[in-house]
Amino acid sequence: MSQIPHSQALDEHLQEMVLALHAAVKGALPHINDDPALVDQAIRDCEEILDVVLEGDVASWIGTS
């Protein structure tokens, strides 16, 4: 497996994604009972981010592809 030589960029990108997931969950949790549409949207947004993470195309995340 070849090494990705941009570990700082990768760290930052993953951190951004985790912060976005955290913000989405934090924003949705208070509305579980009163705004199901908002919660559904947050879940879809989280799923979209997680799909990209699971796909693991690191080079595209940090703009080297």
Partner: protein
């Protein structure tokens, strides 16, 4: 409409804050950072304004190199560009030094409105926005719980002890927003990927014409003399409802001037 948002990048809410006993300041080095949740509300309010009136948001941040993560969050939310003022010469700046730095950076921008949080969620001094307004020669409209723009007039609901006051000013102006003004949007994947292509302009103190007599520890007039834990909160009062619960709640709220 061009909006400048002054933002701060602070230790993430998931981090347990630590005070350095020698400097009596918050430890920021090697700590996960994020866009200050208070600043995120200012960004959100700016985004709502430009959604309605058109224009763009520029985020101005003073902070170390690790502030990039928070700046990218603001860009991922929808800000068009960012200015990052980072320089070891700025270390130890007090509120006035910070205001001078931000003012010098903002003067280089074309803006109609400057938005700030009422106070940051790490140091809570609440001093910078007023100083910034003075340095920029702008009317400060503070403690906004709602904000709108009509033509060249900015209108806020200003939180007060008994409710709110409606305050207006002609643009350009500076507005500080309160915690309750909105729920900020979170960055989506599209926003995160788009933010990587947006411009972050880096500036130093020298770029802004600022020297050791303006900013940094030597110029600071504020000093942290002591630090300590807040006093323990008194225990709550439990009232047993004996059919008069509603009345007693109303009396309690009236006594606290909350009703």
């Amino acid at each position: 409409m061009n909006v400048v948002v002054c933002a701060k990048v602070v230790p993430a809410s998931t981090v347990t804050n630590r005070i350095d006993p020698d400097t009596r300041r918050l430890v920021r080095k090697d700590v996960t950072q994020e866009l200050d949740p208070q600043a995120a509300k200012a960004v959100e309010e700016g985004l709502r304004l430009i959604d309605k009136h058109g224009g763009a948001i520029t985020v101005v941040v003073m902070g170390g190199d690790d502030a990039t993560i928070g700046i990218r969050s603001a860009l991922a939310m929808g800000a068009a560009a960012a200015v990052h003022i980072s320089d070891p010469a700025l270390a130890g700046s007090d509120a006035l030094g910070t205001a001078k730095t931000l003012a010098a950076a903002i003067r280089r921008e074309s803006f109609d409105l400057v938005l700030c949080a009422t106070e940051s969620s790490d140091s809570y001094t609440g001093l910078v926005p007023g100083q910034l307004a003075q340095l920029l020669g702008l009317p400060p409209l503070t403690f906004a719980t709602a904000l709108s723009v009509d033509g060249r007039t900015v209108i806020i609901r200003r939180q007060s002890e008994g409710g709110y006051d409606v305050v207006t000013a002609t643009l350009p102006a500076l507005v500080t927003v309160t915690t309750g003004i909105n729920e900020p949007r979170y960055p989506t994947l599209k926003g995160i990927m788009g933010a990587r292509k947006k411009e972050i302009r880096k500036l130093t103190a020298a770029d802004l014409g600022l020297g050791p007599s303006d900013v940094g520890g030597r110029a600071a007039r504020e000093q942290v003399l002591t630090i300590g834990r807040p006093p323990a909160r008194p225990p709550g009062k439990i009232v047993k409802d004996e059919g008069d619960g509603g009345t007693r709640i109303a009396e309690f709220l009236a006594a606290a001037k909350l009703a």
